[in-house]
Amino acid sequence: MIMNVMLDVDRTAASGVAVQPIVSLRGVAKHFPGVIANQDVDFDLLPGEIHALLGENGAGKSTLMNILTGIYRPDLGEIIVDGQPVTFASPVEAIAAGIGMVHQHFKLVKAFTVAENVHLGWSETPGRISRDLLEARTAQIAASLNLAVKPGARVSDLSTGEQQRVEILRVLSRKARVLILDEPTAVLTPAEAAELFKALRQFAARGNAVIFISHKLDEVLEISDRVTVLRGGRKVTTKPTNECDKRILARLMVGQEVVLSNMRERKPGAKPISDAPVLSLRNVSARDDLGNLSLKNVSLDLRAGEILGIAGVAGNGQKELSQVLTGVRRASGGEIHVCGKDLSSRGAEEFAAFGVGHIPEDRLHSGLAPALSITDNVVIREYGKAPLSQGWMYRPSAAAALARSIAEAASVAVPDFKMPVRNLSGGNQQRLVARREMRIASNVLVAAYPSRGLDVGAINAMMSYFTELRDAGVGVLFVSEELEELFKLSDRIAVMFHGEVMGVVDSSQVDVETIGLMMGGQRSLEAGSAEEVR
């Protein structure tokens, strides 16, 4: 890392242009309870450049930009603008210093017109002004920045691309010299994206700078002049984009030092992988809560005694996949078979009855009732069975006994089982959920991001639970965004992108780069031609 910084300095010196960065970050660190969001980050933004910030989910991109725009204050390190150290108490101060951000989810008032949105919360907005004058002002600013907007239109009537242009206008009208865009193309059509890129190049050409946050490799290569890669909250490197290709970027983004520990090896006496799949999907599609098709024609087979990893950047259909596989969400098309039985149109009850356990993404919101007692929560899968229930009677004493045995299996010390489950740490909640689900997972366990937000001890516990199940002949479907974990544990890895499976690969015969490329939308290399990537 130090090497790279020195290289940058050398290059700048060598090119003979001693350019002062518009903005620099020096040694920036930000810690949240239990999480290092940023550590030792150095970052320079030069005038005239479009600088891509690349990293996986949770790599610390958003935190870093929130620090730069005054939303967070760094725990350590400093922000230097035009050579002067500054501190921002709020985004207003950051924008006053010329740093503005367009968030992924727009922050516009939908019922207001474009002109009103542009002038909202701006000290230069005249105290009294007519609608016509306000719109004229807006049109004038837009023209001077070469951004086509309709000043009189209501924001709610605009397309996403147009709304984004209003956001950009809002930032630029305040004389921003640094424009930060958080995954701006995620919401755009290709034509709108091309339009955006043109506007960004013009903006940068005027001596301003753009920070472009993305995890799409193609885009980064297309638009940026330099690229900084973050991983695990730290800066990996900053490189001129023309020295990179997709392969290099993928490697930098996901990291090379994947520890291939032997969790894939079976214990003696472990059940072998079955020939017939215990869970199989054929052309399964599903819609998300908003009705968008977020799972498209997915076909997968999971065999007994194997762990199938699901890789991909979060939000590419993994959530819907795990819900469809456990009956929580109905598939809109295709077939799902568990042990040869068609469960396509069945609900969560039947899936549980057929031995499908489910560790849901976001345990507090869907896997637990946070305000209820630990006992109530850990018996949620078995309250209807003997000995907890006899007929319509429910026996709290039997429930308490089961809760004690689950807590013991999970090695969670519980002072009081009547205590609300939300008072336990995230790691302990997840251990209890996992042990609870393992009890019913006689055929399949679907685990969605089981290690998200946990400390190392709890993560290791999760991993050992899964190998325990695998060795007992259960099929485990393991969704994660951590490639290291996936490689450690999975026998095969399926990669998802935009709701589709890009391919299923044998994890002992694939490298991280290939997975990284597939996560970025590259189809599986079934022909085995890794060279085609370029």
Binding site: D376, I380, M393, Y394, M419
Partner: protein
């Protein structure tokens, strides 16, 4: 060494009780100071309040009559809370139950022994009908039951005024705004106190049992606490929501039935006496425990009866209401504080 305040995870029973006692004592002390400053004779006032509550047979009977509807409305609100719904409309369901029971009393001939069960059922159904629309709106269109149940309160109260001054007005001409004396009574249990009181208590105990000792009760708990978790565990949230909300309405309707048949014996405007709203306070005091409703209702009954006693001594109604509010306010603070403890620790 530093001292900090820490929130304790599970509440502590003795602490909670102590906090409530301190709250009541504090509120009464403040009230005493205010009364003393305005020149009232504290000893005389206190003696009068005691005599008209615990200190006499009539006082106790009045308490019994007041506590009956409060237990039922408090239970109605508590039961709805179990499934995650706020039934602010116990007042309206109370009115509907009273109207339905009165209709049976007025228009169904027969001996009391046969008509009484009919009135009981009518009261429950009346309350249920009154909460039906809010229930369905919440279950199928996610319309906040808070608003809909509240608004129907006014409809219920005004409907009683209409009936009692219009079509059902006492034909004898002896009263201007009430029906005639209803021909049936709920049998007496102790003096003026009718069988509504033991039935309310039994109903509370039975429901507490059902909620704690049946599979259904467990499912309602999960569904009410987190519908997403219910969906995940294949518990039918909507079905439980509908059943429990209708139950809640039925219980509030029974409160109205007992009030009109057992206590006032006539349907008249203002019969609900805010019992439905006070039921919300009872439920809050009971903190979601069905059994706690009995204690909460008893406390509210004493406060209400003391207020009436104070009014007869020339203390104005605003002062009485302020005192009631003060007690509840202090209790709420006490409840919250009982979740904290002071710990001494060395700074990390």
């Amino acid at each position: 060494m530093s001292i900090r305040i820490q929130r304790v995870p599970s509440e502590n029973m003795a602490g909670g009780l102590a906090a409530r006692l301190i709250a009541i004592v504090l509120a009464l002390s403040i009230a005493a100071i205010v009364f003393a400053m305005s020149g009232a004779d504290l000893g005389k006032l206190g003696a009068h309040v005691f005599k008209s509550t615990f200190g006499s047979r009539f006082g106790l009977m009045d308490l019994g009559l007041i506590v009956t509807p409060l237990i039922l409305t408090g239970l109605a609100v508590t039961v709805a809370m179990k499934v995650g719904a706020w039934n602010i409309g116990a007042e309206g369901q109370f009115c509907a139950g009273a109207i339905a029971a009165t209709a049976v009393a007025l228009f169904v001939p027969g001996p009391t022994i046969l008509v009484l069960p009919l009135m009981f059922v009518a009261g429950a159904i009346g309350g249920m009908l009154w909460i039906l629309i809010p229930t369905l709106a919440r279950a199928y269109a996610d319309v906040s039951e808070l608003i809909t149940t509240l608004l129907l309160n006014f409809v219920g109260a005004l409907f009683i005024y209409y009936l009692a001054t219009g079509p059902w007005l006492d034909p004898s001409g002896l009263s201007f705004a009430a029906t005639k004396r209803l021909p049936h009574d709920v049998p007496g249990f102790w003096g003026d106190v009718h069988w509504g009181l033991p039935i309310a208590v039994l109903l509370t105990v039975a429901l507490a049992g059902v909620l704690n000792y049946t599979r259904w009760g467990y499912e309602v708990r999960i569904a009410g606490s987190n519908p997403a978790a219910a969906r995940y565990a294949a518990i039918p949230f909507r079905r439980h929501l509908i059943v429990v909300m209708l139950m809640s309405g039925a219980i509030a309707g029974l409160a109205g039935m007992f009030e009109v048949i057992g206590t006032t014996h006539r349907l008249q405007g203002g019969i609900s006496n805010n019992f439905g709203y006070i039921g919300i306070m009872v439920a809050v005091l009971a903190r979601g425990s069905a059994i706690g409703v009995i204690a909460g209702a008893a406390l509210m009954a004493v406060i209400l009866k003391s207020g009436i006693a104070l009014q007869t001594q020339g203390v104005n109604i605003s002062t009485v209401l302020a005192l009631t509010g003060l007690i509840l306010f202090f209790t709420a603070i006490g409840d919250e504080l009982s979740h904290y403890r002071i710990v001494r620790s060395k700074p990390a």
